[in-house]
């Protein structure tokens, strides 16, 4: 029973990571660099939602959606100021810039709200039981929000012109250009969707625990591990990777001291790099 409960808890931890993992993989597919600011971007979005929810008294749903939209727009703006001028300098430069950006964003949150732990204004509820497994209301919200977001993403990528353009740019930017796909527009869309995903993801993390400035960057290694395990660039992979990392991390506490849980994503990355660099669902990556 305890094992099943722990595995279920792991699924929840994994589901919380699906949206940021998707954001990482999407951005990597189109722009070819891992964004180390994803954690801090989620923190900022969570605090935006906190400002609307706890300080202005909005319902959390409205606050979360507004914060996610704001984050989408903010991501486009950040790209224009930070990444666009560096686009031609290669992935390493973009990566270092994203590290700097992460420090800026996390500390903007710290500047505004300090280090104290805060929470959204929502009524916490006691759990209910299904076949003796404890589940709660917020976990159901997390599950349904993530599932909805995944479906929308699938629809977007496979059924819309924008989504197809994004995939084309991801596969081969030069060819996409030749075929008349306007890549600046695709990049803007990619950032906007990344922002939406991170915005919703940040609020879900904030509901799961307390709001603190490092709340997002704590997830950084796990989220990258999920995306790499699934295969960087593969949306389905990001989803599966996140669930695997979540479940294995929680189950590892049955045999390992819980304070080394971070070792699970790390070992996952190392194994993938050594045995299957393209990840579970990624295309074998051929350079040059």
């Amino acid at each position: 029973m305890y094992i099943i409960q722990t595995a279920f808890n792991g699924v929840i931890s994994g589901v919380i990571m699906t949206l940021p993992a998707l954001a990482v993989t999407l951005l990597f597919g189109v722009l070819k660099f891992p964004n180390f600011a994803v954690g801090a971007m989620m923190t900022v979005a969570a605090y935006l939602a906190f400002a609307l929810n706890a300080q202005l008294g909005w319902p959390l749903l409205a606050a979360a959606l507004t914060a996610a939209l704001a984050m989408g727009v903010l991501c486009i703006a950040i790209d224009q100021v930070t990444f666009k001028p560096l686009r031609e300098r290669g992935g390493i430069t973009l990566m270092v810039a994203s590290l700097g950006l992460g420090f800026i964003l996390e500390n903007l949150a710290r500047f505004a709200y300090g280090n104290a732990a805060r929470s959204f204004v929502i009524e916490l509820a006691r759990p209910f039981r299904v076949a003796d497994i404890r589940m709660n209301y917020e976990q159901m919200i997390t599950l349904s929000v993530s599932a909805t977001a995944m479906l929308l993403m699938w629809f977007l990528l496979s059924r819309t012109a924008t989504g197809r353009a994004m995939r084309a740019v991801a596969d081969n930017p030069a060819l996409a250009l030749v075929r008349g796909i306007e890549s600046p527009r695709v990049i803007r869309w990619t950032w906007f969707i990344t922002g939406l995903l991170l915005g919703v993801g940040g609020v879900l993390i904030g509901m799961d625990r307390a709001l603190e400035p490092p709340m997002g960057s704590n997830y950084l290694i796990s989220v990258f591990a999920a995306a790499i395990l699934g295969g960087l660039g593969s949306p389905l992979g990001a989803f599966v990777g996140a669930i695997i990392i979540g479940v294995v991390s929680e189950l590892s506490t049955l045999v390992l001291p819980p304070n080394y849980r971070i070792g699970v994503p790390l070992v996952a990355i190392a194994l993938v790099l050594i045995f299957r660099p393209q990840g579970l669902f990624g295309q074998p990556y051929i350079r040059k």
Binding site: R89, L99, F103, I104, L108, R110, F111, I262
Partner: protein, 302 residues
């Protein structure tokens, strides 16, 4: 005030060594190290433990710390034997760095856990009169900085140094030319690691007490800032960059008196925001930094 300036100069020395090490790995070799604070922690703990539990003297402990960090860094570089994509490598270093910091926090039997290691003896503490000690330590730090500078400069100008740059510019071409790129990457990262270990040892000797709270990820931002400001690949520039970053950081403490409305959490946040913004601004507008990398100037002779 004089003593404050001396203490500051010592801190600048070991920051500069750390920045030179990063400059070698990233600036020269193109290997991004986002686990810098973890390796720095490892160096500091290795030196302290070799003295406190191993009974080594300061010299042996420092050399030991350099070797240990070099070996760990070399092993990390080996993980990337199949992919040489920097993206993956950066994520691996971030994870390993975090793991090293967790070990320093959780392995009580070895590291004393959150309590930290106290009473780390100073090098030659017994033979130098206490009132002269800060001057002595400054002299020692300057000597070690000069040693680091000389060693890394010699390596950079050697045939291996040219291979390092070739790996940075295009590892596929280097491999096509029959160079063993994997082995080169392991050596680049290990050599840089040795000097991170040196900087970590000096941190231990300076503070005489280390605990996990002293080694935060902010170190990474400072070091990258120093390298970028100084010009990727340029040694003298990196030292100047480290000095400027540390003086700005320490100087900003005086802001507290100037702007009493801000509390120290906010000031600390502003400091890091400025560092992050400076980093991005330099990448955009001054990507070569303020000093140029040394190159054999063959084109001028022809």
């Amino acid at each position: 005030m004089i003593s404050f300036i001396i203490l500051m100069s010592i801190v600048v020395c070991f920051s500069a060594i750390l920045a030179l090490a990063l400059n070698f790995q990233w600036g020269k070799g193109g290997m991004v190290n986002f686990g810098l604070s973890g390796f720095y922690t490892l160096g500091a703990y290795a030196a302290a433990l070799l003295i406190l539990k191993g009974g080594a003297n300061a010299f042996v402990a420092t050399v030991g710390a350099m070797l240990i960090v070099a070996v760990v860094c070399g092993l990390v570089a080996l993980v990337t034997l199949r992919v040489t994509e920097e993206d993956y490598f950066a994520i691996v270093t971030l994870g390993v760095g975090e793991m090293l910091r967790l070990v320093s926090l959780n392995e009580d039997w070895l590291t004393n856990g959150a309590l930290g290691l106290a009473g780390i003896p100073r090098p030659f503490g017994a033979s130098v009169p206490p009132e002269m000690y800060p001057y002595f330590l400054l002299g020692l730090s300057l000597a070690l900085l000069a040693f680091t500078y000389a060693a890394l400069t010699v390596i950079a100008r050697s045939p291996f140094g040219r291979l390092v740059r070739a790996v940075r510019e295009d590892d596929v071409v280097a491999a096509t030319l029959g160079k063993n790129v994997l082995w080169a990457r392991v050596r680049i990262f290990a050599i840089g690691g040795a000097f991170i270990g040196l900087a970590g040892s000096m941190h231990s000797f300076y503070y005489q007490y280390i605990d996990p709270t002293q080694f935060t990820n902010i170190v990474i931002a400072y070091a990258f800032m120093a390298v970028i400001a100084g010009g990727r690949g340029a040694h003298l520039g990196t030292i100047a960059g480290a000095a400027v970053v540390m003086v700005l950081l320490e100087g900003s403490r005086f802001l507290k008196d100037a702007i009493p409305a801000l509390n120290s959490d906010q000031l600390a946040a502003i400091r890091i925001i400025i560092i992050g913004a400076g980093l991005i601004a330099l990448l955009i507008w001054k990507p070569q930094g303020f000093l140029k990398e040394y190159r054999l100037r063959t084109e001028e002779r022809t």
